[in-house]
Protein backbone atom coordinates (compact mmCIF):
# COMPACT_ATOMS: atom_id res chain seq x y z
CA UNK A 1 0.00 0.00 0.00
CA UNK A 2 1.44 3.38 -0.96
CA UNK A 3 1.78 6.15 1.62
CA UNK A 4 -0.92 8.05 -0.23
CA UNK A 5 -3.45 5.35 0.57
CA UNK A 6 -2.39 4.63 4.14
CA UNK A 7 -4.63 5.88 6.96
CA UNK A 8 -3.08 8.61 9.08
CA UNK A 9 -3.95 10.84 12.02
CA UNK A 10 -2.11 13.98 10.98
CA UNK A 11 -1.90 15.73 7.63
CA UNK A 12 -0.11 18.60 5.92
CA UNK A 13 -2.20 20.50 3.36
CA UNK A 14 -0.09 22.75 1.16
CA UNK A 15 -2.02 25.29 -0.89
CA UNK A 16 -0.60 25.25 -4.39
CA UNK A 17 -1.96 28.61 -5.51
CA UNK A 18 -4.43 31.11 -4.20
CA UNK A 19 -7.98 30.20 -5.30
CA UNK A 20 -9.83 32.53 -7.62
CA UNK A 21 -12.80 32.70 -5.24
CA UNK A 22 -13.31 32.23 -1.52
CA UNK A 23 -12.67 28.68 -0.39
CA UNK A 24 -14.69 27.36 2.54
CA UNK A 25 -12.67 25.03 4.77
CA UNK A 26 -15.31 24.68 7.49
CA UNK A 27 -15.64 21.09 8.62
CA UNK A 28 -12.06 20.29 7.73
CA UNK A 29 -11.08 19.44 11.30
CA UNK A 30 -8.43 17.03 12.57
CA UNK A 31 -11.09 14.82 14.10
CA UNK A 32 -13.04 14.58 10.86
CA UNK A 33 -9.97 13.62 8.83
CA UNK A 34 -8.27 11.31 11.32
CA UNK A 35 -8.12 7.74 10.07
CA UNK A 36 -8.39 8.71 6.43
CA UNK A 37 -5.64 8.41 3.85
CA UNK A 38 -4.16 11.42 2.06
CA UNK A 39 -5.98 10.24 -1.07
CA UNK A 40 -9.28 10.24 0.82
CA UNK A 41 -8.59 13.71 2.15
CA UNK A 42 -7.82 14.98 -1.33
CA UNK A 43 -11.28 13.85 -2.42
CA UNK A 44 -13.08 15.89 0.29
CA UNK A 45 -15.47 18.35 -1.32
CA UNK A 46 -14.91 22.03 -0.67
CA UNK A 47 -17.08 24.99 -1.56
CA UNK A 48 -15.26 27.25 -3.96
CA UNK A 49 -17.54 30.16 -4.66
CA UNK A 50 -20.86 28.49 -5.47
CA UNK A 51 -19.51 25.13 -6.62
CA UNK A 52 -17.89 22.21 -4.84
CA UNK A 53 -14.50 20.98 -5.88
CA UNK A 54 -12.24 18.23 -4.50
CA UNK A 55 -9.75 19.45 -1.94
CA UNK A 56 -6.97 18.00 -4.07
CA UNK A 57 -7.67 20.64 -6.73
CA UNK A 58 -6.06 23.21 -4.45
CA UNK A 59 -3.99 21.36 -1.89
CA UNK A 60 -1.16 18.85 -1.89
CA UNK A 61 -2.00 16.45 0.91
CA UNK A 62 0.59 14.43 2.77
CA UNK A 63 0.51 12.43 5.98
CA UNK A 64 2.53 13.57 8.96
CA UNK A 65 4.29 11.34 11.42
CA UNK A 66 2.51 10.79 14.71
CA UNK A 67 -1.00 9.84 15.64
CA UNK A 68 -2.04 13.15 17.17
CA UNK A 69 -5.07 14.61 15.45
CA UNK A 70 -3.28 17.45 13.70
CA UNK A 71 -3.71 19.48 10.56
CA UNK A 72 -1.00 21.72 9.17
CA UNK A 73 -1.94 24.24 6.49
CA UNK A 74 0.81 25.76 4.45
CA UNK A 75 0.67 28.72 2.05
CA UNK A 76 -1.22 31.97 1.65
CA UNK A 77 -4.69 31.00 2.78
CA UNK A 78 -6.03 34.56 2.90
CA UNK A 79 -8.96 33.46 0.71
CA UNK A 80 -9.64 30.35 2.75
CA UNK A 81 -12.44 30.89 5.24
CA UNK A 82 -13.74 28.85 8.15
CA UNK A 83 -10.49 27.19 9.13
CA UNK A 84 -11.10 25.42 12.42
CA UNK A 85 -14.76 26.38 12.46
CA UNK A 86 -16.63 24.32 15.09
CA UNK A 87 -13.35 22.65 16.05
CA UNK A 88 -13.93 20.28 18.96
CA UNK A 89 -10.47 18.86 19.54
CA UNK A 90 -7.08 18.30 17.99
CA UNK A 91 -4.66 20.85 16.65
CA UNK A 92 -4.55 23.03 13.58
CA UNK A 93 -1.46 24.94 12.59
CA UNK A 94 -1.50 27.42 9.73
CA UNK A 95 1.79 28.60 8.32
CA UNK A 96 0.63 31.76 6.61
CA UNK A 97 -2.34 34.10 6.53
CA UNK A 98 -5.95 32.90 6.75
CA UNK A 99 -9.33 34.23 5.69
CA UNK A 100 -12.49 34.93 7.66
CA UNK A 101 -14.22 32.92 10.41
CA UNK A 102 -11.00 31.43 11.76
CA UNK A 103 -11.94 29.22 14.73
CA UNK A 104 -15.54 30.43 14.68
CA UNK A 105 -17.60 28.46 17.17
CA UNK A 106 -14.66 26.29 18.18
CA UNK A 107 -15.31 24.38 21.41
CA UNK A 108 -11.98 22.70 22.16
CA UNK A 109 -8.57 22.09 20.66
CA UNK A 110 -5.88 24.47 19.54
CA UNK A 111 -5.35 26.63 16.48
CA UNK A 112 -2.09 28.42 15.78
CA UNK A 113 -1.67 30.84 12.89
CA UNK A 114 1.73 32.28 12.02
CA UNK A 115 0.24 35.00 9.83
CA UNK A 116 -2.83 37.19 10.10
CA UNK A 117 -6.54 36.38 10.07
CA UNK A 118 -9.47 38.03 8.36
CA UNK A 119 -12.77 39.09 9.85
CA UNK A 120 -14.80 37.33 12.54
CA UNK A 121 -11.93 35.28 13.93
CA UNK A 122 -12.93 33.42 17.10
CA UNK A 123 -16.48 34.67 16.81
CA UNK A 124 -18.71 32.63 19.11
CA UNK A 125 -15.65 30.67 20.21
CA UNK A 126 -16.66 28.57 23.23
CA UNK A 127 -13.47 26.78 24.27
CA UNK A 128 -9.94 25.83 23.34
CA UNK A 129 -7.06 28.10 22.40
CA UNK A 130 -6.61 30.26 19.32
CA UNK A 131 -3.26 31.95 18.83
CA UNK A 132 -2.72 34.37 15.93
CA UNK A 133 0.81 35.66 15.48
CA UNK A 134 -0.27 38.50 13.20
CA UNK A 135 -3.34 40.72 13.10
CA UNK A 136 -7.04 39.92 13.16
CA UNK A 137 -9.69 41.78 11.21
CA UNK A 138 -12.91 43.34 12.41
CA UNK A 139 -15.38 41.59 14.71
CA UNK A 140 -12.91 39.11 16.19
CA UNK A 141 -14.26 37.38 19.34
CA UNK A 142 -17.68 38.79 18.55
CA UNK A 143 -20.99 37.30 17.46
CA UNK A 144 -21.89 35.97 14.04
CA UNK A 145 -24.01 38.45 12.13
CA UNK A 146 -27.51 38.36 13.61
CA UNK A 147 -26.56 36.41 16.72
CA UNK A 148 -26.82 37.78 20.24
CA UNK A 149 -23.74 36.27 21.90
CA UNK A 150 -20.11 36.62 20.99
CA UNK A 151 -17.13 34.66 22.23
CA UNK A 152 -18.26 32.57 25.21
CA UNK A 153 -15.18 30.67 26.37
CA UNK A 154 -11.61 29.70 25.68
CA UNK A 155 -8.51 31.77 25.09
CA UNK A 156 -7.83 34.04 22.12
CA UNK A 157 -4.36 35.51 21.70
CA UNK A 158 -3.69 38.13 19.03
CA UNK A 159 -0.02 39.00 18.89
CA UNK A 160 -0.51 41.78 16.37
CA UNK A 161 -3.30 44.33 16.06
CA UNK A 162 -7.05 43.79 16.18
CA UNK A 163 -9.66 45.44 13.97
CA UNK A 164 -12.83 47.19 14.99
CA UNK A 165 -15.52 45.73 17.26
CA UNK A 166 -13.13 43.31 18.92
CA UNK A 167 -15.13 41.37 21.54
CA UNK A 168 -18.51 42.76 20.52
CA UNK A 169 -21.15 41.01 22.66
CA UNK A 170 -18.48 38.69 24.10
CA UNK A 171 -19.80 36.93 27.23
CA UNK A 172 -17.03 34.69 28.61
CA UNK A 173 -13.43 33.67 28.03
CA UNK A 174 -10.20 35.60 27.78
CA UNK A 175 -8.90 37.57 24.80
CA UNK A 176 -5.50 39.22 24.63
CA UNK A 177 -4.28 41.73 22.07
CA UNK A 178 -0.57 42.41 22.16
CA UNK A 179 -0.88 45.29 19.70
CA UNK A 180 -3.48 47.98 19.09
CA UNK A 181 -7.24 47.53 18.88
CA UNK A 182 -9.64 49.33 16.58
CA UNK A 183 -12.78 51.31 17.27
CA UNK A 184 -15.56 50.00 19.51
CA UNK A 185 -13.30 47.63 21.41
CA UNK A 186 -15.44 45.53 23.80
CA UNK A 187 -18.63 47.15 22.63
CA UNK A 188 -21.73 45.65 24.25
CA UNK A 189 -19.47 43.33 26.24
CA UNK A 190 -21.60 41.01 28.37
CA UNK A 191 -18.78 39.39 30.36
CA UNK A 192 -15.30 37.94 30.00
CA UNK A 193 -11.86 39.47 30.06
CA UNK A 194 -10.10 41.46 27.35
CA UNK A 195 -6.54 42.69 27.81
CA UNK A 196 -4.94 45.09 25.35
CA UNK A 197 -1.33 46.21 25.27
CA UNK A 198 -1.48 48.82 22.50
CA UNK A 199 -3.52 51.89 21.62
CA UNK A 200 -7.27 51.57 21.37
CA UNK A 201 -9.62 53.29 18.93
CA UNK A 202 -12.67 55.43 19.50
CA UNK A 203 -15.72 54.44 21.57
CA UNK A 204 -13.94 51.79 23.61
CA UNK A 205 -16.35 49.97 25.93
CA UNK A 206 -19.44 51.38 24.22
CA UNK A 207 -22.52 49.78 25.79
CA UNK A 208 -20.37 47.53 27.99
CA UNK A 209 -22.63 45.71 30.50
CA UNK A 210 -20.23 43.58 32.53
CA UNK A 211 -16.79 42.06 32.02
CA UNK A 212 -13.26 43.36 32.39
CA UNK A 213 -11.06 45.47 30.13
CA UNK A 214 -7.38 45.64 31.05
CA UNK A 215 -5.05 48.18 29.50
CA UNK A 216 -1.52 46.87 29.84
CA UNK A 217 0.05 49.59 27.68
CA UNK A 218 -1.21 53.11 26.94
CA UNK A 219 -3.90 54.16 29.41
CA UNK A 220 -6.91 55.61 27.59
CA UNK A 221 -9.04 58.30 29.15
CA UNK A 222 -12.31 56.67 30.26
CA UNK A 223 -15.39 58.19 28.64
CA UNK A 224 -17.93 60.15 30.73
CA UNK A 225 -20.13 57.07 31.09
CA UNK A 226 -17.42 55.33 33.11
CA UNK A 227 -16.81 56.36 36.72
CA UNK A 228 -13.96 55.57 39.14
CA UNK A 229 -14.38 53.36 42.19
CA UNK A 230 -11.99 54.02 45.01
CA UNK A 231 -11.76 50.64 46.64
CA UNK A 232 -8.88 48.19 46.87
CA UNK A 233 -9.06 45.66 44.04
CA UNK A 234 -5.67 44.13 44.71
CA UNK A 235 -7.00 40.61 45.31
CA UNK A 236 -8.84 40.11 42.04
CA UNK A 237 -6.17 42.12 40.25
CA UNK A 238 -3.46 39.74 41.45
CA UNK A 239 -5.48 36.73 40.33
CA UNK A 240 -6.03 38.27 36.90
CA UNK A 241 -2.51 39.63 36.48
CA UNK A 242 -0.90 36.33 37.45
CA UNK A 243 -3.06 34.54 34.92
CA UNK A 244 -2.17 37.00 32.16
CA UNK A 245 1.53 36.98 33.10
CA UNK A 246 1.81 33.47 31.67
CA UNK A 247 1.48 35.04 28.20
CA UNK A 248 4.56 37.19 28.69
CA UNK A 249 5.44 40.38 26.84
CA UNK A 250 3.54 43.42 28.01
CA UNK A 251 1.43 41.27 30.33
CA UNK A 252 4.34 39.73 32.23
CA UNK A 253 4.72 42.36 34.94
CA UNK A 254 1.14 43.48 35.46
CA UNK A 255 0.92 42.11 38.99
CA UNK A 256 3.34 44.67 40.39
CA UNK A 257 0.98 47.55 39.58
CA UNK A 258 -2.00 48.81 41.50
CA UNK A 259 -4.72 49.57 38.98
CA UNK A 260 -7.23 52.35 38.89
CA UNK A 261 -10.71 50.94 38.35
CA UNK A 262 -13.57 52.51 36.42
CA UNK A 263 -17.02 51.00 36.02
CA UNK A 264 -19.48 51.44 33.20
CA UNK A 265 -20.95 51.78 30.70
CA UNK A 266 -23.48 53.60 32.86
CA UNK A 267 -25.67 53.90 29.79
CA UNK A 268 -25.98 50.11 29.84
CA UNK A 269 -25.84 47.94 32.96
CA UNK A 270 -22.80 49.75 34.33
CA UNK A 271 -21.16 46.69 35.87
CA UNK A 272 -18.30 46.42 33.41
CA UNK A 273 -14.87 47.49 34.58
CA UNK A 274 -11.74 49.07 33.17
CA UNK A 275 -8.52 48.30 34.98
CA UNK A 276 -5.75 50.82 34.34
CA UNK A 277 -2.58 49.61 36.06
CA UNK A 278 -0.06 52.21 34.93
Amino acid sequence: MSANNRAAGAFRLRLRAQPALRLDLAGLTPGALAGQSPADVARCPLWHGNETVPLGEFFDVSALAGDDATLVFDGDLARCDGIGRELDGGRIRVEGDVGDYLGAGMRAGEITVTGSAGMLAACEMAGGRLDVAGDVGDYAASALPGDMDGMRGGLLIVRGDAGARFGDRMRRGTALVFGAAGDFLASRLVAGTIAVAGEVGAHCGYGMRRGTLIFAGPQPEPPPTFVPTGHDVQVIWTLLARSLAAHGGPFAALAVGRPRRFVGDLAADGKGEWLLPA
Binding site: R172, G173, T174, A191, G192, T193, R210, T212, H231, D232, V233, Q234, V235, I236, T238, L239, L240, R242, S243, A255, K271, E273
Partner: protein, 312 residues
Protein backbone atom coordinates in the same frame (compact mmCIF):
# COMPACT_ATOMS: atom_id res chain seq x y z
CA UNK B 1 -4.73 -4.48 79.38
CA UNK B 2 -4.61 -7.43 77.05
CA UNK B 3 -1.14 -7.30 75.58
CA UNK B 4 -0.23 -10.29 73.47
CA UNK B 5 3.18 -8.92 72.60
CA UNK B 6 5.18 -6.66 74.87
CA UNK B 7 6.82 -3.69 73.17
CA UNK B 8 8.69 -1.42 75.52
CA UNK B 9 10.81 1.46 74.30
CA UNK B 10 12.73 3.74 76.65
CA UNK B 11 10.69 2.36 79.52
CA UNK B 12 7.31 3.11 77.88
CA UNK B 13 5.03 0.23 77.01
CA UNK B 14 3.21 0.37 73.70
CA UNK B 15 0.00 -1.61 73.91
CA UNK B 16 -0.68 -4.32 71.37
CA UNK B 17 -3.80 -2.63 70.16
CA UNK B 18 -5.08 -0.48 67.32
CA UNK B 19 -6.74 2.83 66.73
CA UNK B 20 -9.95 2.61 64.81
CA UNK B 21 -10.84 5.30 62.31
CA UNK B 22 -13.74 5.85 59.97
CA UNK B 23 -14.37 7.39 56.55
CA UNK B 24 -15.20 11.09 56.32
CA UNK B 25 -15.56 13.72 53.63
CA UNK B 26 -13.08 16.56 53.63
CA UNK B 27 -11.96 19.70 51.89
CA UNK B 28 -9.14 22.17 52.17
CA UNK B 29 -9.66 25.90 51.81
CA UNK B 30 -7.10 28.66 51.73
CA UNK B 31 -7.95 31.86 53.58
CA UNK B 32 -5.88 34.93 52.76
CA UNK B 33 -5.94 38.43 54.15
CA UNK B 34 -4.11 41.75 54.14
CA UNK B 35 -1.66 40.33 56.67
CA UNK B 36 -1.09 37.10 58.57
CA UNK B 37 -2.91 38.36 61.66
CA UNK B 38 -6.21 38.84 59.89
CA UNK B 39 -5.89 35.59 57.97
CA UNK B 40 -5.38 33.88 61.30
CA UNK B 41 -8.38 35.63 62.85
CA UNK B 42 -10.61 34.30 60.08
CA UNK B 43 -9.16 30.80 60.20
CA UNK B 44 -9.46 30.58 63.97
CA UNK B 45 -13.07 31.75 63.82
CA UNK B 46 -14.09 29.35 61.05
CA UNK B 47 -12.49 26.38 62.81
CA UNK B 48 -14.04 27.24 66.16
CA UNK B 49 -16.49 24.81 67.75
CA UNK B 50 -15.34 22.12 65.34
CA UNK B 51 -13.77 19.56 67.63
CA UNK B 52 -16.00 16.58 67.07
CA UNK B 53 -18.72 15.54 64.66
CA UNK B 54 -20.65 14.25 67.68
CA UNK B 55 -22.14 17.70 68.17
CA UNK B 56 -20.25 20.25 66.05
CA UNK B 57 -21.28 19.13 62.57
CA UNK B 58 -17.69 19.02 61.44
CA UNK B 59 -14.14 18.74 62.63
CA UNK B 60 -11.88 21.51 61.42
CA UNK B 61 -8.48 22.91 62.08
CA UNK B 62 -5.65 25.01 60.76
CA UNK B 63 -3.39 22.76 58.72
CA UNK B 64 -0.60 25.29 58.35
CA UNK B 65 0.24 28.94 57.85
CA UNK B 66 1.00 29.91 54.25
CA UNK B 67 3.50 32.50 53.10
CA UNK B 68 2.55 35.17 50.60
CA UNK B 69 4.39 33.22 47.91
CA UNK B 70 2.15 30.18 48.44
CA UNK B 71 -1.29 31.72 48.03
CA UNK B 72 -3.29 32.47 44.88
CA UNK B 73 -3.44 36.21 45.52
CA UNK B 74 0.06 36.78 46.89
CA UNK B 75 -1.04 37.61 50.41
CA UNK B 76 -0.39 35.76 53.66
CA UNK B 77 -2.79 32.93 54.26
CA UNK B 78 -3.83 29.90 56.21
CA UNK B 79 -4.72 26.42 54.98
CA UNK B 80 -7.76 25.00 56.74
CA UNK B 81 -9.02 21.42 56.61
CA UNK B 82 -12.66 20.56 57.33
CA UNK B 83 -14.00 17.05 57.82
CA UNK B 84 -17.54 15.82 58.17
CA UNK B 85 -19.48 12.57 58.05
CA UNK B 86 -21.15 13.36 54.71
CA UNK B 87 -20.63 15.65 51.77
CA UNK B 88 -23.98 17.27 52.47
CA UNK B 89 -23.13 18.10 56.08
CA UNK B 90 -19.69 19.31 55.03
CA UNK B 91 -21.25 21.67 52.50
CA UNK B 92 -23.64 23.00 55.14
CA UNK B 93 -20.90 23.61 57.68
CA UNK B 94 -18.62 25.16 55.08
CA UNK B 95 -21.22 27.63 53.94
CA UNK B 96 -22.11 28.67 57.47
CA UNK B 97 -18.53 29.01 58.61
CA UNK B 98 -17.32 30.87 55.52
CA UNK B 99 -20.39 33.09 55.60
CA UNK B 100 -20.12 33.98 59.27
CA UNK B 101 -16.38 33.85 59.89
CA UNK B 102 -14.55 34.63 56.65
CA UNK B 103 -16.94 36.88 54.76
CA UNK B 104 -17.22 38.96 57.93
CA UNK B 105 -13.49 39.19 58.64
CA UNK B 106 -11.73 42.29 57.27
CA UNK B 107 -9.74 41.96 54.02
CA UNK B 108 -10.13 38.20 53.64
CA UNK B 109 -10.53 36.09 50.52
CA UNK B 110 -11.03 32.34 50.33
CA UNK B 111 -10.07 29.75 47.73
CA UNK B 112 -10.31 26.02 47.15
CA UNK B 113 -7.16 24.36 48.38
CA UNK B 114 -7.33 20.92 46.82
CA UNK B 115 -6.46 19.95 43.28
CA UNK B 116 -9.08 17.65 41.88
CA UNK B 117 -10.31 16.64 38.46
CA UNK B 118 -13.46 18.09 37.02
CA UNK B 119 -15.46 15.00 37.95
CA UNK B 120 -14.73 15.34 41.67
CA UNK B 121 -17.52 16.16 44.10
CA UNK B 122 -17.58 19.82 44.98
CA UNK B 123 -19.10 21.85 47.77
CA UNK B 124 -20.29 25.41 47.38
CA UNK B 125 -17.91 28.04 48.67
CA UNK B 126 -19.11 31.32 47.17
CA UNK B 127 -21.81 29.79 45.00
CA UNK B 128 -24.56 30.75 47.42
CA UNK B 129 -22.76 33.33 49.56
CA UNK B 130 -22.55 35.55 46.50
CA UNK B 131 -26.18 36.48 47.00
CA UNK B 132 -25.06 38.58 49.94
CA UNK B 133 -24.05 41.00 47.19
CA UNK B 134 -27.74 41.68 46.54
CA UNK B 135 -27.23 41.77 42.81
CA UNK B 136 -23.99 43.73 42.84
CA UNK B 137 -21.84 40.61 42.93
CA UNK B 138 -19.60 39.97 39.93
CA UNK B 139 -18.43 36.65 38.56
CA UNK B 140 -14.94 36.27 37.14
CA UNK B 141 -13.62 33.18 35.37
CA UNK B 142 -9.85 32.92 35.56
CA UNK B 143 -8.06 29.90 34.09
CA UNK B 144 -11.19 27.78 34.32
CA UNK B 145 -11.98 28.66 37.94
CA UNK B 146 -14.92 30.86 38.82
CA UNK B 147 -14.56 33.51 41.47
CA UNK B 148 -17.23 35.74 42.96
CA UNK B 149 -16.56 39.32 43.93
CA UNK B 150 -19.02 40.48 46.54
CA UNK B 151 -19.03 44.20 47.41
CA UNK B 152 -18.46 44.72 51.14
CA UNK B 153 -17.63 47.75 53.23
CA UNK B 154 -13.83 47.33 53.01
CA UNK B 155 -13.84 46.74 49.27
CA UNK B 156 -14.78 43.38 47.86
CA UNK B 157 -14.85 39.83 49.19
CA UNK B 158 -13.31 37.46 46.65
CA UNK B 159 -14.43 33.86 47.00
CA UNK B 160 -13.99 30.88 44.72
CA UNK B 161 -17.28 29.35 43.65
CA UNK B 162 -16.72 25.78 44.84
CA UNK B 163 -14.16 23.58 46.51
CA UNK B 164 -13.47 19.89 45.80
CA UNK B 165 -14.63 17.36 48.37
CA UNK B 166 -12.61 14.19 48.81
CA UNK B 167 -12.86 10.98 50.79
CA UNK B 168 -10.84 11.19 53.99
CA UNK B 169 -10.19 9.47 57.29
CA UNK B 170 -11.27 10.64 60.73
CA UNK B 171 -10.72 9.43 64.22
CA UNK B 172 -7.13 8.23 64.24
CA UNK B 173 -5.97 8.50 67.85
CA UNK B 174 -3.33 7.95 70.45
CA UNK B 175 -3.86 7.53 74.19
CA UNK B 176 -1.08 8.76 76.45
CA UNK B 177 -1.15 7.04 79.83
CA UNK B 178 1.00 8.94 82.31
CA UNK B 179 1.94 9.21 85.92
CA UNK B 180 0.19 12.56 86.43
CA UNK B 181 -1.35 15.55 84.68
CA UNK B 182 1.93 17.35 84.14
CA UNK B 183 3.56 14.35 82.52
CA UNK B 184 0.55 13.62 80.31
CA UNK B 185 0.30 17.23 79.15
CA UNK B 186 4.03 17.48 78.50
CA UNK B 187 3.98 14.38 76.31
CA UNK B 188 0.81 15.45 74.51
CA UNK B 189 2.12 18.93 73.79
CA UNK B 190 5.39 17.58 72.40
CA UNK B 191 3.57 15.05 70.22
CA UNK B 192 1.07 17.62 68.97
CA UNK B 193 3.84 20.01 67.95
CA UNK B 194 5.50 17.31 65.87
CA UNK B 195 2.26 15.99 64.37
CA UNK B 196 1.06 19.43 63.36
CA UNK B 197 4.18 19.88 61.27
CA UNK B 198 2.91 17.15 58.94
CA UNK B 199 0.77 17.95 55.90
CA UNK B 200 -2.81 16.82 55.28
CA UNK B 201 -3.78 16.31 58.93
CA UNK B 202 -5.47 18.25 61.69
CA UNK B 203 -5.81 17.59 65.40
CA UNK B 204 -9.26 19.11 65.94
CA UNK B 205 -9.47 19.27 69.74
CA UNK B 206 -8.32 22.22 71.87
CA UNK B 207 -4.55 22.36 71.66
CA UNK B 208 -4.77 19.12 69.70
CA UNK B 209 -5.60 17.18 72.86
CA UNK B 210 -8.81 15.72 74.26
CA UNK B 211 -9.22 14.64 77.87
CA UNK B 212 -12.78 13.37 77.52
CA UNK B 213 -12.27 10.35 75.31
CA UNK B 214 -15.54 8.63 74.61
CA UNK B 215 -16.93 5.20 74.06
CA UNK B 216 -19.91 4.42 71.89
CA UNK B 217 -23.24 4.45 73.72
CA UNK B 218 -24.29 5.17 77.27
CA UNK B 219 -26.48 3.81 80.02
CA UNK B 220 -28.73 6.72 79.12
CA UNK B 221 -30.60 5.83 75.96
CA UNK B 222 -30.55 9.34 74.54
CA UNK B 223 -26.76 9.65 74.51
CA UNK B 224 -24.79 8.35 71.51
CA UNK B 225 -21.48 8.49 73.37
CA UNK B 226 -20.25 8.65 76.93
CA UNK B 227 -17.06 8.81 78.95
CA UNK B 228 -14.50 6.15 78.13
CA UNK B 229 -14.63 4.70 81.65
CA UNK B 230 -12.02 2.06 80.94
CA UNK B 231 -9.44 4.86 80.68
CA UNK B 232 -10.65 7.07 83.55
CA UNK B 233 -8.20 6.95 86.47
CA UNK B 234 -10.99 7.90 88.86
CA UNK B 235 -12.67 4.62 88.00
CA UNK B 236 -9.69 2.32 88.05
CA UNK B 237 -10.75 0.61 91.27
CA UNK B 238 -14.47 0.86 90.48
CA UNK B 239 -15.27 0.12 86.86
CA UNK B 240 -16.10 -3.40 85.80
CA UNK B 241 -13.55 -3.13 83.01
CA UNK B 242 -10.51 -0.89 83.22
CA UNK B 243 -7.48 -0.55 80.98
CA UNK B 244 -5.52 1.23 83.67
CA UNK B 245 -3.28 0.21 86.50
CA UNK B 246 -2.94 2.13 89.77
CA UNK B 247 0.21 4.00 88.76
CA UNK B 248 -1.66 5.73 85.87
CA UNK B 249 -2.93 9.04 87.16
CA UNK B 250 -3.84 10.84 83.93
CA UNK B 251 -4.74 9.92 80.34
CA UNK B 252 -4.79 12.26 77.37
CA UNK B 253 -5.92 11.49 73.83
CA UNK B 254 -4.78 12.98 70.54
CA UNK B 255 -7.31 12.64 67.72
CA UNK B 256 -6.16 12.86 64.13
CA UNK B 257 -8.16 13.52 60.96
CA UNK B 258 -6.29 13.16 57.68
CA UNK B 259 -6.93 13.38 53.98
CA UNK B 260 -5.71 9.81 53.49
CA UNK B 261 -5.11 6.63 55.43
CA UNK B 262 -1.37 7.17 55.06
CA UNK B 263 -1.51 10.70 56.41
CA UNK B 264 -3.21 9.53 59.62
CA UNK B 265 -0.74 6.68 60.00
CA UNK B 266 2.21 9.04 59.52
CA UNK B 267 0.91 11.43 62.15
CA UNK B 268 0.33 8.63 64.66
CA UNK B 269 3.81 7.27 64.05
CA UNK B 270 5.44 10.67 64.55
CA UNK B 271 3.41 11.30 67.69
CA UNK B 272 4.44 8.00 69.21
CA UNK B 273 8.08 8.48 68.28
CA UNK B 274 8.20 11.85 70.02
CA UNK B 275 6.66 10.43 73.20
CA UNK B 276 8.92 7.39 73.17
CA UNK B 277 11.96 9.56 72.54
CA UNK B 278 11.26 11.48 75.75
CA UNK B 279 11.28 8.20 77.65
CA UNK B 280 9.67 6.99 80.85
CA UNK B 281 11.60 9.56 82.85
CA UNK B 282 9.17 12.19 81.55
CA UNK B 283 6.36 10.37 83.29
CA UNK B 284 4.61 8.50 80.49
CA UNK B 285 3.99 4.83 81.30
CA UNK B 286 2.10 3.51 78.30
CA UNK B 287 0.80 4.43 74.85
CA UNK B 288 -2.49 2.94 73.82
CA UNK B 289 -5.28 3.70 71.35
CA UNK B 290 -9.03 3.85 71.27
CA UNK B 291 -10.87 1.20 69.37
CA UNK B 292 -14.33 -0.22 69.38
CA UNK B 293 -13.53 -3.79 68.56
CA UNK B 294 -13.56 -3.03 64.85
CA UNK B 295 -17.24 -2.01 64.96
CA UNK B 296 -16.83 1.68 64.18
CA UNK B 297 -14.76 1.96 61.07
CA UNK B 298 -12.70 0.16 58.47
CA UNK B 299 -9.36 1.84 59.19
CA UNK B 300 -7.32 0.05 61.84
CA UNK B 301 -3.94 1.46 62.87
CA UNK B 302 -1.98 -1.11 64.83
CA UNK B 303 0.49 0.67 67.08
CA UNK B 304 3.16 -2.01 66.86
CA UNK B 305 2.95 -2.08 63.07
CA UNK B 306 3.30 1.70 62.90
CA UNK B 307 6.52 1.42 64.90
CA UNK B 308 7.79 -1.40 62.75
CA UNK B 309 7.54 -3.84 65.66
CA UNK B 310 4.79 -5.99 64.24
CA UNK B 311 5.39 -9.71 64.07
CA UNK B 312 2.68 -10.08 61.48
Amino acid sequence: MSAATIVEINGITVDDTFAEAFPMKATRVVVTAHDATWANHAAVAMTGFATSVIACGCEAGIERVLGADETPDGRPGVAVLLFSMSGKELAKQLERRVGQCVLTCPTTAIYAGLDADAAADRAALGKNLRFFGDGWQISKMIDGRRYWRVPVMDGEFVVEETTPVVKAVGGGNLLILARDTEAALGAAEAAVAAMRALPNVILPFPGGVVRSGSKIGSKYASLPASSNDAFCPALTPLAKRTELTPEIGCVMEIVIDGLTDGDVAAAMRVGMEVILERGAAAGVRRISAGNYGGKLGPYLYRLHALLGRSEA
